[in-house]
């Protein structure tokens, strides 16, 4: 779905945010992009739907270089993006109107628009709030509305830039369940997050630092075994994994797993 070849990006003033990133994201993969603040994660994500154009190097989306998407809206329909702050992307006077905004530009028949709006709101748990003013929603509710707006366009890929960071645990679980469902349906997902528990749902995770790939894409379990390297790049392990290490158990990703490991350890010591 995405292919980056030696991607370089410099902001005005010469600050190099990406310094030769090469990366492939196969269709249907769920990739977590990890890194400390300022590592280049958001800059990378913004290249994937053409919000930014490379200073050097190439970005291919669905097999085509970015520059071949002369109609940038076509690219934006193909690749939806949800940012951390939904206030920057909510435009409607009502929930329904906000989700409809992108659809109106597609010239779809009204019944199809209504169906897509209903489905999108159902998916994010906002069904029944169609007439509510987005300004009256809490931060977390606004975030789910922003996700619904992206989903209504039926993209092939979805980029999420810390999109769950403002949600309560229930909200996070709901959004992750939506993403899992979409992932099963074949959607490619690229997710920037600081929440390591979310990474466990992903197929692979990559670590950026100083604008470069420092740890290439690999399954979360393999990544979290590289504790020294992760610490170097300011990546925290999931809390359960940290607790496991304090107890001398490596690679624990869940509490049941940790309990079983400690039971075995205790039995082994006694033998």
């Amino acid at each position: 779905m995405f292919r980056l070849e030696n991607l370089v990006y410099e902001y005005a003033g010469g600050r190099r945010a990406l310094d030769g990133v090469s990366l492939q994201v196969p269709k249907g993969q769920w990739l977590a992009v990890l890194g400390a603040n300022g590592s280049g994660k958001s800059t990378l994500a913004r290249h994937l739907n053409g919000l930014l154009q490379p200073t050097a190097g190439r970005v291919l989306v669905a097999g085509r270089p970015l520059e071949e998407y002369t109609d940038i809206q076509q690219l934006r329909r193909l690749v939806g993006i949800v940012f951390q702050n939904p206030d920057n992307q909510i435009v409607g006077n009502s929930v329904e109107e906000d989700v409809a905004f992108g659809l109106e530009n597609l010239g779809l028949p009204r019944p199809e628009m209504r169906r897509r709006i209903g489905e999108a709101l159902q998916m994010v748990g906002l069904a029944g709030r169609e007439k509510v003013d987005p300004a009256a929603l809490s931060g977390g509710q606004k975030q789910r509305l922003a996700i619904a707006g992206a989903l209504a366009m039926q993209p092939q890929a979805l980029l999420l830039d810390e999109a769950t960071s403002m949600l309560d645990p229930v909200g996070v679980a709901e959004v992750l369940e939506v993403l899992r469902r979409l992932h099963r349906q074949g959607l490619t997902i690229v997710m920037i997050t600081h929440n390591m528990s979310e990474v466990l749902f992903c197929d692979q995770a990559v670590v950026l630092a100083d604008g470069r790939v420092q740890l290439p894409p690999q399954p979360p379990m393999e990544l979290f075994a590289r504790t020294a390297e992760l610490a170097r790049w300011h990546i925290e392990l999931p809390p359960v994994t940290q607790l496991g290490l304090l107890l001398g158990v490596e690679g624990c990703l869940s509490l049941p797993q940790l309990v079983e490991a400690m039971k075995s350890k205790t039995a082994t010591v006694q033998r």
Binding site: N37, S138, L246
Partner: protein
């Protein structure tokens, strides 16, 4: 006494079918120097309560006292002046962009002190001291706040509040968007400030593990009502209530409960991973002794 709320209510949307009760009948007292966590499901009224406490919005009924200042006068023209509020309470918003407004970082930090009549020298000295304290380079003073990174914006928003030295700090999701190291640095900055000034901190966060590591008291909101107000260790014993309110237990507490459910004999009051590990190790030793006979 720093803060007192008595039967405070706040509604949005006017009267009619669109009216929403954001905060309903909340009463509480918070003393000087307390570290308080404020949690609840999305839409439970946390941000509304924070804004009421800071005098940014008016309550529909009830009383709010902030030190010696009453925030709930009957008539609009009796409302406290912004400058009086700023010397008593400072708020760092969920999105720093919502409170940054000046053309440069220097102007942002100077705004409050200028309104208090500080001299340019006093403002400059306080600004330099705060920048150093928060790890922000002095070159940022001439930069627009909107050109800063997310973490830098959050620090500038905090600096603009701290420069007024309010006894009460209200922080709405201050750790969002920060990586693990930045999160700890920010927390240590806050705690150092709190210790030096005996400030009161009310912190809204969904990061329950982080709140458990430094808060002394927990307030839990559910659909606008205050459902729980307890010392933090005790608060996490209310497992069913917290679940009902959409608040998860800290990982440490979940872990000790999981081991207890598996038949291990251990206390379940851990707040941090280190405490949980100690409790589990002690239980492992005890289990080993029992197996050994």
């Amino acid at each position: 006494m720093t803060l007192r709320l008595q039967n405070v209510c706040c509604r949005y949307g006017g009267e009619g079918p669109l009216e929403v009760t954001a905060v309903e009948n909340i009463s509480l007292e918070i003393s000087r120097g307390e570290l308080v966590g404020l949690v609840g499901h999305t839409g439970s009224g946390k941000s509304t309560l924070a804004q009421l406490i800071c005098g940014l919005i008016a309550a529909d009924s009830g009383d709010i006292w902030l030190e010696d200042l009453c925030l709930t006068p009957l008539k609009k023209r009796q409302r406290p002046k912004a400058i009086d509020l700023a010397q008593r309470v400072g708020m760092v918003f969920q999105y720093p962009e919502h409170q940054l407004f000046a053309e440069t970082v220097a102007q942002e930090l100077a705004y409050g002190p200028e309104n208090l009549g500080w001299t340019p020298e006093e403002i400059s000295e306080a600004t330099q001291r705060l920048l150093k304290r928060l790890g922000l380079p002095p070159e940022l003073l001439t930069v627009s706040p909107y050109q800063l990174s997310g973490g830098e914006k959050r620090k500038v928003a905090l600096a603009s509040v701290l420069i007024m030295q309010p006894p009460l700090l209200v922080l709405d999701e201050p750790f969002v968007g920060l990586d693990a190291v930045a999160r700890q640095e920010f927390l240590q900055l806050l705690l150092a400030w709190q210790k030096e000034n005996n400030s009161t901190i009310i912190c809204i966060s969904h990061d329950i593990d982080l709140l458990a590591s430094f808060c002394q008291r927990l307030l839990v909101l559910n659909r606008g009502r205050l459902k729980l107000d307890a010392p933090i260790r005790q608060a996490f014993n209310e497992v069913e209530l917290l679940e009902e309110c959409g608040v998860r237990l800290p990982t440490a507490r979940q872990a000790t409960l999981a081991f207890q459910a598996a038949g291990w004999q251990l206390p379940t009051e851990a707040l941090t991973l280190a405490e949980a590990a100690e409790a589990i190790k002690a239980a492992q030793t005890k289990a080993g002794e029992q197996i050994g006979g």
